[in-house]
Symmetry: C4
Subunit: 220 residues, 4 copies
């Protein structure tokens, strides 16, 4: 039941669409891993070698899964502050979803061509664009308390903005670094989600921003 | 908990099915983009050329994503007026979903054969049929306040109907124009979602129809 | 919030899983339609001929979509009587989902081999099994009011049972008839969903069974 | 509406993401079953032989579907005790989802290479890892009543832990046994879900652990 007074555009269906797209993209990634056919394999050793050769595809899959999960987590976190949505907010989210749903393509490219600079640039670029759109999502919705419950304190608004922009900028950095060395650009792309997840699960005393901010009503 | 007195057919499961189908179709589009295999590529230049050659597939994907998002948005908007569903309404929605789930096929055709008149006609036809079904959905549900909360004012009912029909008619027009020139038909198909989205996000003083219309109860 | 007193197994997550599987299966069907590549086509006529040759695949897709929608509708209808679930009920539903998720395979077979008796038998058999499991779902849940709100009147219980069994039996009949003539078996498979949907949307005065039966609480 | 006092991270969106991933993985399995093309088949007998040759793929699909359903069931069961989530809990669940979404790959491998020891080890290993992560999920959330409603009695906590660990250990055992005999390892992988499901649906007087434990509030 709506308690926000903004008629017609419900936050819950937008969340449902986004969660659906995240779930599907995270699962489709696995389809890009090509399984050999039993007609091309003769003997244990050949199979073992063939499976070991799949490592770039399996690693790309795991890294993209972790990256998508971190975007899902941040999206989830943002929405916990929002009480409603509006037209522009919906379209910002759809642009974000367009970037997210492109990840299987850039992941498949990475699995096939991880040695090629161009492909590392495409991959890091995809993530940088998704990060910028997630920042825009936050900036738009919290500006003047537009879509939040009672207005997010400026301190919290800035702290979250800095984090989101940092995340996007690290991938822009990876794009730049891959012109110097493809391997370094690639390493940044792999390191970012790993560090992010470690920072999420290891206590580090920097989690304060949420404190004292009322939660958005749910089930609306 | 139902508050509408119509037993047995819940609006929420229909929304869940539709949102699921939209999310999947929007994500499956990306599978139609064929990623080259590393065995066929030798050297940076060849890869760059090969990736540039993918532009019709990438563009078809982006246009179809935008079109599907606009249909999802309009479906979402319609349902915000509805308080319940009934058998016929469910089957109108299923026909609409049949048209929506065909979009990956017409998009793949467009990505491969955008120069062929026949394929532009199929693509525009798919969208025109989806638009007409969305109009039918609205017309059926609002007729005499059949499925709405307290009845939608006739003025609002007509304003929304005109918009939905216009959307469908633009694609019918694109079908016709592609007999004159495939390029023109194609241009209309690309322009329609772009203009629609711009009209959604730029303030233009034509947003009145919702005013004063009670919102349907949610979570039912 | 649970009001049923049966702890631990919520009806809503089971519905969510089932709706998700239905949405995905209905959308995956379309992936079985093979789109030609632009490298194999030269000229308008060849493309037109090639697209016309796709008719068995497109028709199989539309028929399977309608069949799946009718199963979703009936599942939805059954669940509107249920107030809770239990272990066995969950596993009956999972078996039903196994039959539903096999539909893309039998549909792809039908699209390729509609002239072969064996494939019509497989297709009709898939639907007959799904129908029987849906009947079992109903029979188990309503037996002695096991999972229903206040107990379904015996009259209603039987009327719904007869319908569900009839649906399953028509596909068993199609299996039998295809031993006589593949075309007749196929015709029954196509006719059943068409007639079912027409009976849903045309008023025919046989809709009484629901009357007077309390609706299950939702959102639980 | 939240009643738990833990702001920002809702249990319901995590459930939605997980149910979405389960639904998609369970459905994608079927895509790994390769349907022959009508151009390679001539005559009824050849088709019959070709369809019979698909048995390892169909069986792998059915076994994986049952295994995934059992993991979904256990996940569902665990969450019925939880009232909230936190960062680490979300990332444990995402790791679990990573293991689950890898199942289509190990299933496809099994369908192609069920005679190869290495593939049985990969398959059983995938399930063992998923089982261990599900145990971790439970252990973490119930430790000191961290995420549960009023704290789960130690007796219940241990009983569920033993079951989850046993499940994981059976697959570790299957990994070990396949070094002795591939067939035995494979048999254990097939037997485990069958026995598990039978134990779920046949009354056996061992279902007590839930008794007296308050259910988590839903819809939060």
């Amino acid at each position: 039941m709506s308690t926000t007074g903004v008629p017609g555009l419900s936050k819950s269906r937008l969340e449902m669409l986004c969660d659906g797209i995240f779930a599907i993209v995270m699962t489709l990634l696995v389809l890009e891993i090509g399984v050999p056919s039993h007609t091309e394999i003769h003997g244990d050793e050949q199979l073992a070698r063939r499976l070991l050769d799949m490592w770039p595809e399996v690693l790309s899959y795991a890294v993209s899964f972790a990256l998508l999960a971190s975007f899902w987590f941040a999206h989830h976190f943002e929405f916990s502050f929002f009480a409603r949505t509006d037209r522009r907010h919906i379209w910002i989210n759809i642009l974000f979803m367009l970037a997210i749903s492109f990840v299987p393509v850039s992941t498949a490219l990475l699995g096939q061509f991880y040695r090629y600079r161009l492909v590392v640039v495409v991959y890091a670029g995809n993530m940088a664009v998704a990060g910028l759109l997630l920042f825009w999502n936050w900036w738009y919705a919290t500006r003047g308390g537009r879509l939040t419950v009672e207005g997010v304190p400026e301190r919290v608004r800035k702290a979250v903005s800095v984090r989101l922009l940092t995340y996007a900028m690290l991938f822009a950095l990876a794009m730049g670094l891959s012109w110097v060395s493809t391997a370094v650009g690639l390493a940044v792309c792999v390191a970012v989600p790993v560090v992010y997840i470690i920072m999420q699960v290891v206590p580090h005393g920097m989690d304060a921003p949420r404190e004292g901010v009322p939660e958005a009503p749910r089930g609306e």
